[in-house]
Each structure stands twice: as C-alpha cells, then as structure tokens.
C-alpha cells in the first residue's frame, strides 16, 4: 500500500490492532463519558426507590449480621480477637468490591452490546466505568466500616490502627485491577461462548470461601497446614489481611504475600488487556 506523502490520516481502520495499544489518548478524550457513566450508574441505582442511597448500607449490614449469626455464633469460628461484625465487614467490603468488578466486567460486552454495536468509543471506558462505579459503592461501605470501628473503639475494644493503613490506596488498586483483569479475560470468551458466564455466577460466591472473609488466615494455617497454601496464594487474601492489620491491628500481614499479590495482579491485568484488545474490535459480530 503506497501512501502519498502529503496525506496525513487521523484514523486508520485496519483488521487487527496492536495488542498492547491501549488507546490512552483516545480514552483520555472520552474522560467526560467515563464520569457521566459513573454518574448514570449511581443515579439510576436509586431512582424510584424510597430509601435511595441508603441501600448501599443495608446490603453489607444484613450480610454481616447473617455471617455473625452463622459463622461466629453457630459455627464458632474465631475472629483473631477482633469483634466479629468488624472482622466480617472488613472482609466483605473488599470481597464485594472484587466480586462486583469481576462479575460486571465479565459480561460487559454482552450487557452493552446495544450501545457498542451502534457507536464507537474507546471500549476500555466501559470496564473502567464499572470499576469506578463500584468504587463509589465501596467508598460508601468503607464509611460504614469506619463508623463501626469508631463504635467498637468507643466501647473499649482493643483496636490499634498502625502505619500499615497507609497501604490502603495500594490495596484498592490491587483489588480493582484484579477484578478488572480477570473480568476482561472472561468477557472476551463470553462474547462467543456463554459457558463461562455460568461458571462466574456460581463460582464467584464459592470463591469467597477460599479467601479470608469469614475466618482469619492464622486459623486456617493452624487447622489445615497442608491446604492453607490455596488460601495464601489467593491474591485477595493478602489484601484483606493487610486491611485488617492496618486498621484493626490484628491479622497476618507479610510484605512477601503482598508483593506476591501485586505481581499476580499485574500479570492478570496485562493478560486481560491483551485479550480485551483483541476481542473489542469484532465482538459485535459474535456477541
């Protein structure tokens, strides 16, 4: 293909694109869309409800009440001397953020086929908007966590936040990137074969038991020394443990485990991006 020198094209549409080209410039141009999508998700969530944004609180409160009843009272699982509701809430908000990012991202092509089939915008905007919308939810639930923390601290429980809580932003990034990366990997496959979507729907809630949402890592290590590696090597575990350690002063925090989590996350995110890039160009034909 010969190109005349005086011709200077802005857009070139070719069958395949560079796998690692993220269209950063293009995506940046659409940043307003990202914010508007987040706003849309947030506003449409509580339109025509009476309680409105209060629903963001109700879900985790009921969850920890049930966990408290079943796992702490009935099953008697120890919670590292942390008040059980606080222990569960720390795990639940992290896990929910991860699970929401993962499940929503994994069906992003299917759910938005109508829009994506009709108009171009950098496809990465949609998964990013999912991560950001869920971040808003996470923030609201985190406030709930802080309130509960204050409550127990006021009642004289031994809650000792330490410097490890400065790692909090990193923890958020890890969880978001992990959910995003895994979700993008799955989304690519589900455009054509829906099988994996079923696996996600029943698999993600089950996966929660392989990480330390309802039990502390220390208990798992002492009870099942042979199998605790499954829990340790779940990259979410390090995040939950670090959060508990930083804010509540209890938990198994280790730099090694956190570094491992980071490494895995970067790896998964890269693979996810490559797969997503490959699929986004033609998914319209197969979805």
């Amino acid at each position: 293909m010969s190109q005349q020198p005086e011709e200077d094209w802005d857009i070139e549409i070719v069958p395949k694109n560079n796998l690692l080209d993220l269209h950063i410039k293009d995506t940046w141009h659409y940043r307003d869309l990202l914010l508007l999508l987040v706003r849309r998700d947030f506003v449409s969530f509580y339109k025509q409800t009476i309680l409105g944004p209060v629903w963001f609180f109700i879900q985790p409160i009921i969850t920890i009440l049930i966990y408290n009843l079943v796992f702490s009272n009935l099953a008697g699982i120890k919670t590292d001397q942390i008040p059980a509701p606080l222990f569960y809430l720390a795990g639940t908000i992290i896990w929910n953020y991860f699970a929401d990012c993962l499940t929503k991202t994994s069906t992003v092509f299917k759910d938005n086929a109508a829009v994506m089939g009709k108009v171009y915008f950098p496809r990465l905007i949609l998964p990013l908007s999912i991560v950001m919308s869920n971040l808003v939810r996470f923030a609201v639930q985190f406030i709930l966590f802080l309130i509960l923390m204050g409550f127990y601290w006021g009642r004289g429980f031994n809650i000792s936040p330490n410097l490890a809580l400065l790692l909090f932003p990193l923890l958020i990034v890890i969880i978001a990137a992990l959910g995003l990366g895994l979700g993008m990997m799955i989304s690519a496959v589900t455009t054509k074969y829906r099988d994996l979507a079923f696996v996600v729907t029943f698999g993600v809630p089950l996966l929660m038991y392989t990480t330390t949402v309802i039990y502390p890592l220390s208990t798992a290590v002492t009870k099942y020394p042979a199998y605790s590696w499954i829990i340790k090597y779940n990259p979410v575990t390090a995040v939950i443990e670090t959060l508990r350690y930083g804010f509540l002063g209890k938990g198994s925090f280790s730099w090694g485990l956190l570094a491992y989590s980071c490494g895995i996350t970067i790896f998964i995110l890269l693979i996810g991006i490559v797969i997503f890039n490959k699929v986004e160009k033609t998914f319209v034909d197969t979805v």
Partner: protein
C-alpha cells in the same frame, strides 16, 4: 479537493448460523492455521452474499474488495438492496466493527448516527441524557454545554428537559436524539436510515440540517437510505452496493437510475413447480411461470417507481384438453396482507382460453402505478367460470417494489401516510357567482 476518506480493498466476512458446540473445534482449527502462519481455512471458501440461494459454505462476504475515496464536503448516498452491505460498511466506517481485510483511512473526527438515542437511559432526564448521549458520541462536556440551548430548541422539548425520557412520546425521544447528533462538531457524519422514524415535518428538518452541514460548514456526510427522494435531494455522489460489491459510484442521478433499472432477474422471474409453497387447486390448468418487466425493456425487474408501468406476464398450461376457458385473475396485496385489488380477465373484457393443451402466455399491463412506496405481492388464480372449482391458485408468488423518486414526485412519501397516490385536480372555486 482533499480526500477525507480512502477505502482500500475493504472486505468483511461473516459466519452464518449459530455459535455452539460445533464452532469451537473450528475456532481451534483456525487458531492452529494462524499459528503455522497459514491463511484462515474458512475464509478461503467464503461466498458472495446472495441470500436467495443456499450456499455450500456458512461464511459469506458481506463486503468484498471495496475501493473508493470520498472528498471533503461531499454528501455521499449509499444505496442498494437489503443485504447489499450498506450497514456493514457504515459499521466499519464508524469503527463499531473491524474489517476482515483492507484498510480505511480517515481525516478528522468521525461521528456516526446508526441509531437514534444510543445509550439513552430511560430513568435519566432529558438534560442528563443530552450530556450522556453527547459524551457517547464523542463530545466534551464543555462542548455540550455550549450547544445545550441549541439542541433543546432544535428538538423542541424545552418543557420536558427535566423529565425522565421514559415519559417522552416516541416522537420527542427521536427528536431529542437526533438533535444531539446533529450538533456534533465532527468533520464526517455517518447516518444510517434513522430518519424513517419521526413525522414528515421532522424528516424535512433533519434533511435540511444535514444539507446545511455539508453546504455551509463543508463537512462530509455518508448517508444510507432506501428513500431515493431523500438521496436525490441531499447527496451529490452516490455509491451502489450489490451483494457486498461496489457496483457503481458517481453522480447521484445516474447511480440512482442504475439502481432502479438493475436487473433483479432472480426474483422478478419465477418458474413454478409442484413444490411451490401456498399452491392449491386441482391442477386442471396450471401456471408454469411468471415474470415482471417494464414496457420497452425485456429485462426482468421487480423495482418500479411511482407512476411507471408494470408488465406482468404468465404462462398457462391447460392440462385437460376438454377445458376451453379458465376464469383467471391477479390479486394485489400489501406487505401486511391487505388485499387491494383483484383483477379478473373478464372485467377487462378479455377471456383466457385454452389452446388444446398448448402453453400460452398472457400479459397484464398495469399503467401508471399509483401505489405508495413499499412491497406488494401478487397472487395468480385460475378457476372455472362459476367460481366453484379452483384449478390453480398461487398465493403471493411474485412481488414487486415501489420506490420513491419517480417521474411524478420528488417528495419523500412516508409509507404509513397512504396507499394510493391520487393527484386530483385542484382549483380555486369562485363563490361570488
């Protein structure tokens, strides 16, 4: 003039049929071929996209080897039958999907309007949706803010701006959606047949807006429509696609004429056999074939413009030598199945007679077709003179198309605005006498 779009060898293959357990083995085979650096085995056997015949492969080329350039300020109409590849072309140009082969190079921003109201959220208000939709189409927030008043005025929804769009009438919804897209500041605008919705007044307004955009602002428009009147009115050049290939490109008038005169022999000439669907009767007399053409043109065609003459020819075989006559008639139905005419031979002072077992061909000449644009179906009937016995009845066995933009009118005729195009005599009545 400067080129703003350059299309080279553009092709797009689609896989027909369902995706299921069968497709994964094929995907693996493809993957394996690619790994060894070979050509995709399933693309090699791809076929031309002709829907009417069943092909041997389930890969079809929806577009095949398109080459063309578009210059700045052009309004390009894209025409062709259903399935010719028009929408696929627009989808590739608006970057919704990628081509299988070939490249497109574009200068400047491109905005597409393949559907009105893409991304509208029913729960959000008109104001919120203007911002959301504008952003989806690629506008910055500041840009939308600047044009907000103009958009709302164009759509005429001032009063409803803070009401959720789910409470809008469908007309208001469409107007608002078009208004957002029309105010995009892109160098190239790609528009699919979205104007089919909305009332005649609004259609005119949209066409006016698009015309204004090309003439005054020097922007380029690509416009797909089945409405030849709008194409004639708006576009200076035209692309004709046929089965995924570029059949003609050039001055609009010429290309539109080419399209209207095209030979659609495959369906304008029908041979009837015993497997013919919706055939009833005792076969004492049978229809063997039928075809449509225009006066003075031997080529078969099933596309007529308003005011043209239609010739329907059919051959009759009298299987029973004792039979002398058959009451023969032709029914006309709309696409909705509404019977609009039943033309019997004797009503026209003619009698269809058998010729001792020979095949005879008859012709019906319908002059000056005054039907609104759309598809019409013809049924052929032969029975005995007392209408008690059906010899042969072929329901909806051949169809024809009436399109806008003929000799009678340049006006776009909305399909739901009427059925028959009357042009009565109009005069001033002097009441002083």
């Amino acid at each position: 003039m400067a080129k703003v779009i350059k299309v080279e060898n553009l092709s797009k293959a689609y896989q027909l049929g369902d995706f299921g357990t069968g497709t994964i083995s094929r995907d693996l085979e493809r993957f394996w071929a690619r790994m060894r650096g070979k050509e995709d085995p399933y693309l090699k056997i791809g076929e031309e996209n002709d829907r009417t015949c069943k092909g041997g492969s389930d890969v079809v080329w929806s577009l095949k080897g398109l080459d063309f350039d578009v210059e700045r300020g052009d309004a390009v109409g894209i025409i062709g039958r259903n399935g010719a590849g028009k929408s696929t072309l627009l989808k590739i140009l608006s970057r919704v999907t990628s081509p299988t082969l070939g490249t497109v190079r574009i200068k400047g921003r491109i905005a597409s309007l393949l559907e009105v109201g893409t991304g509208f959220h029913p729960e959000l208000t008109g104001r919120e949706n203007i911002f959301l939709n504008g952003a989806i189409l690629g506008m910055r927030k500041a840009e939308i803010k600047r044009k907000f008043e103009e958009i709302v005025n164009f759509a005429g929804v001032e009063r409803y701006v803070d009401t959720p769009v789910k409470r809008y009438s469908s007309g208001m919804y469409v107007r608002l959606a078009f208004a957002v897209a029309a105010h995009l500041e892109s160098e190239i605008l790609v528009v699919d047949e979205v104007l089919a919705v909305g009332d005649a007044d609004f259609q005119k307004k949209c066409l006016g807006k698009m015309g204004e955009v090309t003439k005054d602002e020097g922007r380029t428009i690509l416009f797909v429509s089945h409405n030849m009147a709008s194409i004639n009115q708006l576009c200076n050049t035209c692309l004709l696609l046929h089965n995924g290939k570029l059949e003609d490109m050039g001055e609009t008038r010429k290309v539109v004429d080419h399209y209207l005169m095209s030979d659609y022999a495959s369906t304008a000439h029908v041979v009837f056999d015993n497997d013919q669907k919706r055939r009833t009767g005792n076969q004492k007399v049978i229809f063997t074939k039928a075809w449509l053409n225009k006066p003075g043109d031997a080529n078969y065609t099933r596309v007529f413009s308003l005011g043209q003459s239609l010739h329907l020819s059919f051959s009759l075989q009298f299987n029973n030598p004792n039979l002398e006559t058959a009451r023969t008639s032709v029914e006309v139905k709309t696409a909705d199945g509404l019977r609009i005419a039943n033309m019997i031979d004797t009503d026209s002072g003619f009698e269809v007679r058998g010729g001792g077992g020979n095949l005879k061909t008859y012709q019906i000449i319908m002059e000056d077709l005054r039907l609104y644009p759309g598809t019409y179906y013809l049924s052929l009937y032969a029975g005995d003179t007392s209408s008690t016995e059906i010899y042969d009845y072929l329901e909806d066995c051949i169809s024809f198309e009436i399109i806008d933009g003929g000799i009678l009118t340049n006006r776009a005729l909305p399909r739901n605005a009427g059925l028959i195009y009357f042009t009565p005599t109009w005069e001033i009545k002097d009441e002083s006498k």
